[in-house]
């Protein structure tokens, strides 16, 4: 059972390409991008200007029309809708696909052997054995209840803990710091670097749209000498822009990574029926998180393009 449990808070290196370490989350993100681009190419090739679209065109139109309606509902202005729509829908599609990809069997369990740096190996083995021990301990507690005597149970706990350590070391580091078994796929959104990059794009584009619409007047939001209170508010606004990046990045990462851990642990404890409701929950969480990220970005875009006088 312990062989199925692999939890790592950071993405793991799969290979190096042109001096850049390609992690499993980068690999999965690229896979998601390729999926989306392929879908777009297929849709474009089958696009027909008909009154009753069918098949893949119908599906694409359904998604795009829903998202377009959502954006237009917030902006209320076609010009703004057309400007914001590509960003919002791309955020939504990229995030939801990354989130849901983590639920596909094989993602997180199909592994390849990778030569790790010694420091990383130690970190990984520590993390893995720590988590494995925690889960194993909870399992042992359940066993304890059925056990005849307390002494026998303690012995079992000690034995199982030492067994688990051995297994996890073998699994992650090999015998003498050799190759490590690393999951090939890891949802992009379960990596903090991906969520930070998405948050950065969102906040940078917000500033660009603000300048596009309000010109230099946009910066009055941050630098305002009209009164001491406004000056202080400006500083708070400036801080809030940085806080947005952190909030965006950690909300998405936290939710998705927590979901991944939850599923792994549930599958580890009882692999047959128990994880099913959690899979449903994670499908919902994946959708909600994509929607939250997109909607917040949309609201920030919209707010940035409306002057303070209009507020």
């Amino acid at each position: 059972m312990a062989a199925g449990l692999h939890i790592s808070i950071s993405a793991e290196r799969l290979f190096t390409l042109g001096g850049i370490d390609i992690t499993n989350s980068m690999f999965t993100s690229v896979l998601v991008s390729l999926l989306l681009i392929s879908f777009a190419i297929i849709v474009k090739s089958k696009l027909k200007n008909v009154s009753k679209p069918t098949g893949i065109q119908n599906f694409a139109e359904m998604i795009i029309e829903s998202l377009h309606g959502l954006v237009h509902g917030v902006t209320g202005d076609l010009k703004r809708t057309r400007l914001f729509f590509p960003f919002i829908s791309t955020f939504f599609l990229v995030i939801i696909l990354n989130n849901w990809l983590g639920l596909i069997p094989g993602v997180g369990t199909i592994r390849m052997l990778v030569n790790e740096e010694p420091t990383k190996i130690e970190e990984a083995s520590e993390q893995s054995s720590l988590l494995v021990n925690t889960v194993q301990a909870s399992e042992t507690i359940a066993i304890e209840e059925d056990a005849v005597s307390e002494n026998e149970a303690v012995v079992t706990t000690e034995e199982s803990a030492s067994e688990t350590e051995e297994v996890s070391k073998e699994e992650t580091t090999g015998e003498h710091g050799g190759p490590v078994a690393v999951p090939i796929f890891r949802p992009g959104t379960a990596d903090i670097n991906t969520t930070i990059s998405l948050a950065l794009v969102s906040i940078i584009v917000t500033q660009i749209f603000g300048v596009m619409y309000l010109k230099l007047g946009y910066f009055k939001k941050f630098i305002n000498f009209s009164s001491p209170i406004m000056f202080f508010v400006g500083i708070l606004e400036l801080i809030s822009e940085f806080a947005k990046v952190i909030s965006f990045a950690f909300r998405l990462f936290g939710n998705i990574f927590a979901g991944e851990v939850l599923l792994v642990v549930m599958a580890f404890l009882f692999p047959v029926i128990l994880p099913m409701p959690f899979y449903g929950l994670e499908l919902f969480v994946g959708f909600i998180q994509a929607l939250v990220f997109s909607m917040l970005t949309l609201v920030f875009f919209n707010m940035a393009t409306i002057s303070h006088d209009e507020h």
């Binding site: 849709v43 696009l47 200007n49 670097n193």
Partner: protein, 161 residues
């Protein structure tokens, strides 16, 4: 949890590529279709509204024409009825006139015939009476005297009739 600038840059580039690809391959063409469809629907609605307007106008014209036709029909029927009445009156009056004329003619003919018959009867009676008288009185009067006597007697009989 290690934050690496290269990974962040990679993800930003990855997102930008997806954004560009989806914008040009998916969003723009599909939205273009939406716009064209919306335009077509709008045009269709306008055409439908125009058709409804035209239909209403045609209905009005039709009603107007119907009313005119009704009036015309009523007028024609009235005229025809009047004409028919007039014709009937004419026919009836002509018939009456003709009947009267015919009656008059018939009456005249009948009178003439009667007169003729009377005359014939009178002559026959005269002859008979003369013959009878001659036989009875055995005396033959001259023809003129006989005739005069008979006529007087016949006239007397006719008067008594």
């Amino acid at each position: 949890m290690d934050i690496q600038l290269t990974q962040i840059l990679f993800q930003i580039i990855n997102f930008s590529v997806v954004l560009g690809a989806l914008t040009f391959l998916l969003y723009k063409p599909v939205i273009k279709i939406f716009d064209e469809r919306a335009l077509r629907i709008e045009e269709g609605q306008k055409a439908a509204e125009q058709a409804i307007k035209t239909k209403d106008e045609l209905d009005k014209e039709k009603k107007k024409a119907d009313n005119e036709h009704k009036k015309e029909r009523a007028r024609i029927i009235n005229e025809a009825q009047e004409e028919a009445k007039q014709r009937a009156q004419e026919i009836v009056s002509t018939a009456r006139k003709e009947t009267k004329e015919e009656q008059a003619k018939l009456l005249e003919g009948w009178k003439e015939e009667k007169a003729q018959l009377m005359k014939e009867a009178k002559s026959e009676m005269t002859d008979a009476i003369i013959a009878i008288s001659a036989k009875v009185i055995g005396k033959t009067l001259d023809t003129k005297a006989q005739q005069k006597l008979i006529d007087e007697e016949i006239n007397l009989i006719i008067k008594n009739l």
